[in-house]
């Protein structure tokens, strides 16, 4: 059949039914419409496949940067393996995927495991569920060094070292920066999936509404069978049946206070003041500013000694440490300014 022959079937008129002299039309009419795919299934599969895809992309990027480091590290590993005794042979045991580094308020309980509940230093395994009450909070160090903080009134399942499911409540994740950056974390809710691309971000989910606030870096979010990228300063809100909205959120201030209060402790002893200040600035979302390059150099050469600040929040630690140094300082809502 030539295209000329086809043209008679392509007129603008409504073509309901199958023209008696058009075999293709008859065949397709005979077959009937193709089955439709249930939207809920499509949405679920989309989100899961997309999550897997994002992980593979992040893994690929990490691998490209990580190969030179891995080659160097393999020397150390080879030596370790060579000297391992038979007693240290690998065992088929459950491997913990997270460690508790801080608990605020009364200890939370792993819902699917027997009490006595959770303590600092305790290990969590894939499948564990954490449920916190109002006023509680728990800070985890995931394998891979990512910091995951769980707010009060939150129910969270640990799926693996790089994936959690948020049933309700709020979590905050910090995958670090530069060479200390951890792998990506995926947070799944009933409304969508958030996968970080190297960042500090918070995910909240309650009654069908999911929000993802990005403090630093980027987060990929998928839901409602679509996907978006939220950048630093964005707060993306997915509402049931009403699409998505983007709002702006500052890096500092009330929105993040609960997560800052759960920051892992910083061991200040014999560490340069500059490192402590960078940690505090990152945790509080404030800008670290030095009056001059000379002041910056001096802060890098000044070691901090004295009492631990492990029990203090980053803001409290700043107020405790800076007065013991010879530097002038000023802390406002947005900045930490260090002078002569």
């Amino acid at each position: 059949m030539s295209n000329d022959d086809d043209s008679k079937y392509e007129a603008g008129g409504r073509g309901g039914g199958a023209p008696a002299d058009d075999p293709i039309a008859k065949l397709i009419h005979l077959a009937g419409p193709r089955g439709t795919v249930p939207a809920a299934i499509e949405r679920r599969v989309h989100d899961r496949v997309r999550t897997e895809w994002r992980r593979s992309i992040v893994r690929g990027r990490t691998l490209r940067w990580g190969i030179p480091l891995a080659l160097a590290a393999s020397v150390v590993i080879a030596v370790t393996v060579a000297y391992r005794t038979p007693d240290e042979a690998p065992r088929a045991v459950l491997t913990p995927v997270a460690t508790i580094v801080r608990i605020n308020g009364a200890p939370a309980a792993a819902a699917n495991r027997p009490s006595p509940g959770l303590l600092v230093g305790g290990r969590l395994y894939a499948g564990d569920t954490i449920a916190t009450a109002a006023g509680q909070g728990i800070s985890l160090r995931m394998n891979g060094n990512l910091s995951l903080r769980v707010a009060g009134e939150t129910t969270l399942r640990i799926d693996s070292a790089d994936a959690v499911t948020l049933a309700s409540g709020r979590v905050y994740a910090d995958s670090g920066e530069g060479m200390e950056r951890a792998g990506a974390l995926t947070v799944t809710t009933d409304a969508g999936v958030a996968t970080d691309v190297g960042t500090q971000f918070a995910v909240a989910y309650r009654r069908g509404e999911m929000s993802v606030a990005v403090r630093e870096g980027q987060v990929d979010v998928s839901g409602h069978n679509r996907s978006w990228t939220a950048d630093s300063g964005d707060r993306l809100v997915l509402r049931p049946n009403s699409g998505v909205t983007f709002e702006r959120v500052a890096k500092y201030g009330d929105y993040w206070d609960w997560a800052v209060a759960l920051a892992p402790a910083f061991d200040i002893n014999n560490r340069p003041l500059h490192e402590f200040l960078e940690w505090a600035a990152r945790e509080t979302g404030k800008q670290l500013e030095y009056a001059s390059d000379d002041v910056r150099r001096a802060a890098m050469l000044t070691d901090v000694r004295g009492a631990s600040v492990a029990d203090l929040t980053p803001s409290e630690a700043l107020q405790a440490v800076l007065p013991t140094t010879h530097f002038d300082f000023r802390i406002d809502e947005r900045r930490i300014v260090i002078g002569e």
Binding site: S2, R34, E42, G60
Partner: protein, 214 residues
């Protein structure tokens, strides 16, 4: 990546392979738009492909398709375009289906899908018979199945265009509006879709009934 399934209509296949390679490269590079394009194009086709092989068990089909697509999206960088992307998906899907059924102590359908059976062509030929026009309900049902499989192997926009025109009775204007293209472009899509259907039928079944020769 041979699958045992004929790999699409020859004329369509050349440009489709080119499109498939480009899409796979973009997905592997991390393009969000490419991923959504890939999912929209292939998920419904793969789901229907699977559903017909698991006796309509939607939960099982969902799991098989999810596993298949999770594998494929992580291996996109290795796709060389030797077979159509859909053919590659179908092959992985069959493997996943088999291993999942085995793991659950289930058996695959005894009645191998027609398109998986090389002996099918003879049966198809006889279905059309000397009259060239299927009459009985049994024949109609069988032919309908062949047509649906053929449509599934066409690029999604072609199958949609044919379905809109010949089942839903849409005008060319409406088809153009659906694809957000001009009337002229819609006519062209429809014409190419008809051609692809004929070539697809011939390629899949190694057989072309007289009446399709037009």
């Amino acid at each position: 990546m041979g699958t045992g399934i004929p790999d699409g209509p020859p004329d369509v296949k050349v440009s489709q392979l080119h499109d498939d390679r480009a899409l796979a490269r973009r997905v592997a590079a991390g393009s969000e738009i490419a991923f959504e394009e890939f999912f929209r194009e292939y998920f419904p086709r793969l789901f229907r492909f699977t559903l017909s092989r698991v006796s309509g068990d939607t939960a099982l089909a969902e799991e098989v398709v999810q596993r298949t697509m999770c594998i494929v999206v992580t291996k996109m960088g290795g796709y060389r375009g030797e077979a159509l992307l859909f053919t590659w998906l179908c092959q992985i899907c069959r493997n996943e289906m088999s291993s999942l059924l085995r793991a659950r102590g289930l058996h695959a359908r005894n009645d191998t899908p027609l398109e998986d059976n090389p002996a099918v062509q003879a049966g198809l030929e006889s279905l059309f018979g000397a009259t060239g026009d299927p009459q009985s309900s049994h024949q109609s049902a069988e032919i309908a199945r062949f047509v649906r499989v053929t449509l599934e192997y066409l690029p999604g926009r072609y199958a949609t265009a044919l379905e809109m025109k010949y089942i839903r009775g849409c005008t060319v204007d409406e088809i153009g509006a659906h694809f957000n293209i001009s009337n002229k472009a819609a006519e062209s899509v429809l014409s190419r879709a008809r051609q692809a259907f004929k070539e697809g039928f011939r390629s899949l079944w190694d057989f072309e009934p007289d009446f399709l020769l037009g």
